[in-house]
């Protein structure tokens, strides 16, 4: 029982965790990309399409990363190179992505998908409970954990990460030091897109291996909230993502226990929880001030 619950929490969380990891890097570079939902859904449909056509779920993962990055490139061209309003550009990306995914996915509705199979890690897979929950997982779960650690090390323990954070806090100063602000921001946005795309792939390859329109159901937006919740720190994202996963699956378990609440109220829980969490985090002003990238959301136009 406990194994099943933990497994379902992880399965419900991994997509959000992957997308949020990418967005942490993007926002640390001073860009806010509200197009996560759009990149995610395009990744989801690409993964499904490629897995379906090749018959191999693994091909879906690079396809989703490439599709997410391609969407992100569109965003980078506008918001980074041409200094458009980041909020509006991200929204456009979400609307565009939902449209593209719907269009591409039309012919895949109702088709059986190809799911990723779990890989047991020899030796560790036999540990009671933890073995089944953590070490008999699919590759995207392992990827999400490895990537979390990698992003944390990159941001806070590497020279390139320091540069990226400098660009996000004081782009003009970084530029004066000879750092190419626009190049770093472009790369960060592309990485964010690839992560969101792979997050989407988790939905169509693991969570529900089929194509349903609007399969992301706001997960991209919740990922954005998770970034704030984690105060732009990758390791805290894991806690946040699994907490939200728990809230998401609470509705299914509550129904199984016969809790007499209309299902719509339970379905609304993740969204309401997001708002509550945002309030709790934001009310600690000092904490927010320290962690928020100082130049977040402000277009940077290098002057000469």
């Amino acid at each position: 029982m406990i194994e099943a619950v933990l497994l379902s929490i992880i399965t419900a969380s991994t997509a959000m965790l992957l997308a949020a990891l990418g967005e942490v890097v993007v926002e640390r570079s001073g860009i806010i990309n509200l197009g996560v939902e759009g990149m995610m859904v395009v990744g989801a449909v690409s993964a499904f399409a490629v897995a379906q056509m090749t018959g191999d779920a693994y091909w879906g993962i690079p396809a989703a990363a490439a599709a997410g990055a391609a969407m992100a490139l569109l965003f980078a061209m506008l918001a980074v190179w041409f200094a458009t309003n980041q909020v509006a550009t991200g929204l456009a990306l979400t609307l565009f992505g939902l449209g593209v995914a719907g269009l591409v996915g039309e012919r895949f509705i109702g088709l059986p998908g190809v799911g990723l199979q779990p890989i047991a890690i020899p030796g560790l897979a036999d540990i009671p409970i933890a073995g089944r929950v953590l070490f008999q997982q699919n590759i995207l779960f392992y990827l999400s954990i490895v990537l979390t650690v990698a992003v944390a090390l990159f941001l806070f323990r590497s020279r390139a990460g320091l540069r990226l954070r400098a660009v996000g806090d004081a782009p003009a100063a970084a530029q004066a030091l000879g750092i190419s602000v626009l190049r770093i921001r472009t790369l960060a946005v592309l990485f964010g897109g690839a992560c969101a795309g792979v997050g989407g792939a988790q939905l169509t390859l693991v969570y529900t291996p089929q194509w349903i329109e609007n399969i992301t159901a706001g997960r991209g937006w919740i990922a954005l909230a998770l970034v704030v919740f984690a105060s732009w720190r990758p390791l805290r994202l894991v806690v946040g993502a699994y907490l939200f996963g728990a809230v998401t699956i609470a509705q299914f378990h509550a129904q199984a226990f016969g809790v007499a609440i209309p299902s719509q109220f339970l379905s609304a829980l993740p969204y309401i929880a997001t708002i509550v969490v945002l309030v709790l985090i934001a009310s600690n002003k000092r904490f927010m001030m320290i962690n928020t990238p100082a130049a977040l959301g402000r277009p940077f136009v290098p002057d000469r």
Partner: protein, 365 residues
């Protein structure tokens, strides 16, 4: 290759007037490419999308029917965006407005008389404004992101509507369909011209929308509140020095845009639909964001932009019938249009130069 942006010292009015036109032309070109990719004749598809709906009386009526909510919402959003308050949850405010306004025709089905419709509209505006007030109050009180909160509330509002029409507000004589009872005659927004050669489904919603746009124009250009909004949006620091209360402006922006979205909601359910259903809007609240930007946040230009985006909905339906194009193309189109609008906005504000190779030498002065 490197792109260099130089801010223009002043913005030429003609340039800012032409930029939305440029964006529309660019979108049409991209659309032609998209249609070619989908294996449809590009010009034929563009004709089906943007001209065909204008050639028949009934579809011009449909155009007005769809433009009304778009204009109403976008006009409200323009005030919020002018003041740098990012309300992106108009879809939820529309739904809650429709729910609040429907209290009368659903709970008091026997109510009749001339007071019913105005009362429904007042309730709808209150409902939309109340839903819009949540992100504003949380932003003012705790500093939460109004973007995320207003968006999350869209999902909550949609689920609440779903609960109502499947639960307590389901029509007892409705054969278990998830629909409310049909609104009575007094609760229906009348059509402008239902009979005759020029008759059709368009109702007074479009008139309400145009009046709202003109009143908003007065608000932003002729009142102190409008000035506060403009200053607050252009420079928060300057607004503080002037003694303008940023929190009051935020609350006002959300109440105003929420109320107009709520009004759009009741116009839709009391006009085009005539009852509550699980889904009452094909994403008007999101499309209106594009309308607001295409109209460059100017209420009068928003009227034109609203008709154009309404045309994209209708064109989508027309192209589906005549060319077998998926109606999902419309969403792609709308997204492309917003990209082009934002891009042309940059061309208005900056001089853009493209260098083949990076400039390595520093300019010595």
């Amino acid at each position: 290759m490197r792109i260099e942006l130089t801010p223009r010292p002043q913005i030429h009015p003609l340039r800012s007037l032409l930029s939305p036109v440029l964006a529309v032309v660019a979108t049409a070109c991209l659309g032609a490419v998209l249609f070619a990719l989908l294996g449809k004749p590009p010009l034929g598809a563009l004709y089906a999308y943007f001209v065909e709906p204008l050639t028949e009386v009934w579809s011009v009526h449909e155009l007005a029917l769809k433009a009304a909510p778009l204009i109403l919402i976008a006009v409200g959003l323009s005030v919020a965006y002018r003041s740098n308050n990012w309300n992106i949850g108009a879809e939820g405010q529309l739904v809650m407005g429709a729910v609040a306004g429907s209290i009368i025709p659903i709970l008091l089905p026997d109510a009749s008389g001339a007071w019913v419709l105005p009362a429904m509209m007042v309730l709808a505006m209150a409902g939309g404004a109340a839903w819009g007030a949540i992100p504003a109050v949380l932003k003012n009180r705790f500093g939460t992101s109004e973007i995320l909160v207003s968006l999350m509330l869209v999902y909550v509002a949609n689920l609440f509507l779903d609960y109502l029409v499947r639960g307590p507000w389901r029509d007892p004589q409705g054969f278990n369909f998830p629909e409310s009872r049909d609104f009575g005659a007094s609760a229906r927004l009348p059509e402008i011209l239902s009979m005759g050669e020029w008759g059709g489904r368009a109702n007074w919603g479009i008139v309400i929308a145009v009046v709202a746009a003109l009143l908003t124009l007065l608000l932003v250009s002729r009142t102190l509140k409008g000035f506060e909004i403009a200053v607050g949006g252009a420079s928060a620091r300057a607004a503080r020095f002037a003694g303008f209360d940023a929190r009051a402006t935020t609350l006002f922006a959300f109440l105003f845009s929420g109320a107009l979205a709520g009004l759009a909601g009741i116009v839709e359910v009391s006009g085009a639909i005539g009852q509550l259903q699980p889904s009452i809007s094909p994403g008007y609240g999101f499309t209106a964001i594009i309308v607001a930007f295409l109209g460059r946040l100017n209420p009068v230009a928003i009227i034109v932009a609203g008709f154009l985006l309404a045309l994209s909905y209708l064109g989508g339906e027309a192209a589906q019938i005549s060319l077998g194009l998926s109606d999902r193309t419309t969403r792609v189109f709308q997204g492309l249009l917003l990209f082009c609008v934002l891009m042309s906005d940059t061309l208005v504000r900056y001089r853009v130069r493209v260098h083949r190779r990076p400039v390595l030498t520093e300019r010595v002065t």
